[in-house]
Structure formats: structure tokens, C-alpha cells
Amino acid sequence: MRIPPKYTQILAVTILGAATVFTVAVLVFIIVFVLSKGLPGINWEFLFSAPKDMGRAGGIFPTLVGTVLLPLMAIAIALPLGVGTAVYLTEYTRETRLTQVLRFGTDCLAGIPSILFGLFGFIFFVVMLKMGWCLLSGGLTLAIMVLPTIIRTSEEAIRAVPNSYREVSFSLGATRWETVLKVVLPNALPGIVTGVMLGIGRSIGETAAVIFTAGSALRMPASAFDSVRTMSVHFYILAREGISNEKAYATAAVLIISVLAVNLAAYGMMHRFIAKRSR
């Protein structure tokens, strides 16, 4: 039996359309739900004052600071390592068994559940290196976690730089390093920024790996060796321990708005960058 093309067409549009509507609807529902419950609890005092009574009252300022500092530290560590690895894999080696193994390893690393990174960070940084629960332990752990993303997106971006640019650069007497610095990286920048933003997004939302390595102290961190609590962790603890649903939703709302803001900023930056270069 054969369904007439007219009907398969209608069927396809219906099914694909339904899938799209369902996906978007779930996303919109989650955002609207969290914002409707959380937005009423957000005001200047909530954002910029210290929590009281384990977070049952007061604000979330220290966790806001933690949420900014931890991903920044992770990126500061992961960016040079990741871009360096990507440059090495694309520009300095030819495709060999070794690069294939490295790339496979990177892909595997990207698929590991974050709790395992947390466990590794706990055993290695917190216990073995005696760094304790702190910003630095957490930053290093998150850096390892986002490295695969940064390596792979940077690698793709570098590969997408037309070979003719490299050829011209070499033909003008540039060394490989000068070519990387002046031709390859500037042209790969939008892709690299995308990877960084993905990494920041993942770090902001990360909870398991952070509790294990950065701890959950509710004080303002004074140095990289102080424990911090991020908004994700704060939200998790407020909800898990039944401390305050109202504050938990308010924190979640701030978290969602922050992630949206980061993504929008990345989007805007990339568009401006691309527009400027192809002007």
C-alpha cells in the first residue's frame, strides 16, 4: 500500500510541526513557570544583600559573586589550554594515529557526567593537593570539564579558516606561529567565542561538580582559597533541605535570567563581530 504524496506531505508537516511546538512549549513552560514563581521575590535588596538564617531570609549577593567568579576562573584556565590544544591539533601536526586518539579522548571527556569531574576534583585538588573546598579547586575542576567543548569548537573554527589565508601568509614570509597569531586566530575568533560562551553557560548551571570542589560556604569569598557557593548550588540546597521555596524560586529566576543574558550577549557580540569583519 502506498500513501498518496499529498497525504505524506500533510503527515510530515503535522508531525514535524508538532515536534517543534512540543519542544518550544516545554522550554517556554519551564521559563514561565520559574519566572512567575520567582520574579515576585526579586528586588534590589534580594540581589545585593547577604543571606540571613541559612538563606531563609535576606539576599543572595555572595552566591551572585560566586556565580560570576567561578566560571570566569574556569574559563581563564581552560581558554589558553583549550585554544592551545586546538591550534596544536590543527596547525602543528598532520593527521596521525596520535591526533585521532587525542580527539577521541576529548570526545569521551565531553560525555562524562559532571559528578565524575566533581569526584576527581574532590580527590585530586581538594584532598590530595590539600587545597580544600575553594574557588580555585572549583575553577580548576570546571576548567577540566569545559575543556573538551572549548577544544572542539576552537578546532572546528580553526579548520573553517580558508587555507588560502594561510598560504598567502606563508608566501609573504610569515612563520607558522605568526600565521597562527595574525591570520588563523583572528579569523577563528567568532567560533572560539561560541565555545567560551557554551563553557560559561555550562559552568553557571553546574551543581554537582561545584559542591564537591568549591564547597557551599555562604560567606563572601576573600581570596581564591575561600569556599564559595554559586546560585545553582544555593538553589539546590534551599530546595533540597526545604529551607525556603520562595527564595529558591527567586534564585532560580535570577539564574535563568543570567544564563539568557550570557547567551544574548554572546549572540550580539558574534553578530557585531561578523558584521564588522565582512564589512
Binding site: 589565508y165 598560504e167 598567502v168 608566501s171 609573504l172 614570509g173 610569515a174 565582512s278
Partner: protein
């Protein structure tokens, strides 16, 4: 005028892996003349051109034997500074390939790579190079504009200007007009005749009329061999080899 060859190629063999792309090729390039390489696609003329500034090094699995002397020194000798070689022997590619930068930054690229920091000196050389490539008058008021917005023939001349800025001695041109229309081609050809006064030019071309119009010496290549090499007039009017005669008379190719 110097008459001894600037580049002297002898018994050059070049392999891409197992494939032999050049077979015992000889060639003499005279200073401040235009030497054209002609022949059907895949005959090895571009490969030979790219051997002259070691651009083939960038391809995996290339092996070279024989010798290429640049002013008496073998450019494949161990210890050769390849970057310096490429500054002395520059290249213009088949498709105009300016960087996605401003006109000014394109021309200044080689200078900045060479570490020139003095803004005035860079500016001076950019102006001189654009003048030499006949672009200054049209472009002097829009140096900040993206090079990608220029028409193709201006892009190609910008690539010439970018090359002239690093002050090469030899200019290699790999079918520089194949992406251009006849009027733009004529302009590039005039430019080449003008540049001949100061530079040594080797051009690969598919266009036999072009070789006949502008070159002083021509080499006809076929299947990796240099079939005939000599003064252009001789190659086109009284070729010694039957195969050259067939090609220049348009029987195939």
C-alpha cells in the same frame, strides 16, 4: 642589465607520494624578464612554480631532488631560511585572496609580520606599494574599507601591492588572470610589463596569447617534463619540438 639567470633549475624531480609530478626539469629564469610556463592542465607548471619558493613544502608527502639555485645558492640546501626565501620570492595566486581586513591592513600585513612598528614607515611603504600596483589614485581615500568589497581585478592588484610591500626580488604568478575578464586581464598584463623594470617575474598561464604578449622566455611543459624552453618568439614561431608546435598552434590543450 644582468643577464645571468637569477633562478637556475636543473634536473628537478618532484614526487607527491608515489606520483612523480616533475621529471628532470631544467629552467633558467633571467633577471628582470618575464618567464612564462605554458602547457595543458596537470602538466606540472604550477608545481614547478611552487617549488621555486618552496610552497610545496606545505603539502604532506612531497619529495624533491635536483637543484634550484637562487643567485647561485641552492634553496633546498639544509639550513635554508624558508621564510626569508619566501620574502625574496613572493607569489600571486590564481584567485585574488585578500585577507578579510581593510585595504591598508592587507598591504601592511607583511611589514607587520616582519616586525615593523614605525607607523610612518609602514604608511610610506603602503602608499608606495599601492602606487606601484596602480591602485593609489582609486583607493587612497578609502584605505579603511574592507578589501573584500573591491572588484576582482582591484583585489588581484591589491594582492600584488601586498607582495610588493615586502620587497621581493622575484614574483611568481600562478594564473593570476584566470578569474578576471579580458579588460581586467589587460590591466594586470600592463602592470606586469611595468613591474618587469624592477622585478623578475615567472608566470604560469593557460592562455597562450597571454604568454606570447608579455613574456620574454617561455617553457612548454607536458606530463611533468620541460619539452622546450627558450625565447618566447622562438617557441611561438619556430618551435623545435613537434609537441610544442601542436600545442602553440592550438591543436590541443
Amino acid at each position: 642589465m644582468k643577464t645571468e639567470p637569477v633562478i637556475s633549475v636543473s634536473a628537478l624531480d618532484l614526487y607527491y607520494g608515489e606520483f612523480q609530478a616533475l621529471k628532470q626539469v631544467p629552467m633558467e629564469v633571467k633577471g628582470r624578464h618575464i618567464t612564462a610556463l605554458i602547457g595543458p592542465s596537470g602538466c606540472g607548471k604550477s608545481t614547478l612554480l611552487r617549488a621555486l619558493n618552496r610552497m610545496n613544502d606545505l603539502i604532506a608527502g612531497v619529495r624533491v631532488s635536483g637543484s634550484i639555485l637562487l643567485e647561485g645558492r641552492d634553496i633546498y640546501a639544509p639550513g635554508t631560511d624558508v621564510c626569508l626565501l619566501r620574502k625574496r620570492v613572493g607569489m600571486v595566486f590564481q584567485r585574488p585572496n585578500p585577507f578579510p581586513l581593510s585595504i591598508y591592513d592587507n598591504v601592511a600585513f607583511g611589514l607587520r609580520v616582519a616586525g615593523m612598528r614605525d607607523g610612518n614607515a609602514v604608511e610610506e611603504i603602503v602608499e608606495r606599494s599601492l602606487k606601484a600596483a596602480w591602485l593609489w589614485d582609486q583607493l587612497k581615500d578609502k584605505l579603511g574599507q574592507s578589501a573584500l568589497e573591491l572588484p576582482l581585478d582591484q583585489q588581484q592588484r591589491l594582492c600584488v601591492a601586498r607582495l610588493l610591500a615586502v620587497e621581493p626580488e622575484v614574483i611568481l604568478m600562478d594564473e593570476p588572470c584566470s578569474a578576471l575578464d579580458p579588460i581586467a586581464t589587460a590591466r594586470i598584463e600592463e602592470l606586469m610589463l611595468d613591474l618587469k623594470a624592477k622585478y623578475t617575474i615567472v608566470i604560469v598561464t593557460h592562455n597562450m596569447q597571454q604568454a606570447a604578449r608579455i613574456s620574454d622566455y617561455s617553457g612548454y611543459m607536458l606530463l611533468g617534463e620541460m619539452i622546450e624552453f627558450g625565447a618566447t618568439a622562438g617557441i611561438f614561431t619556430s618551435p623545435k619540438d613537434k609537441r610544442t608546435q601542436d600545442y602553440v598552434s592550438g591543436r590541443y590543450g
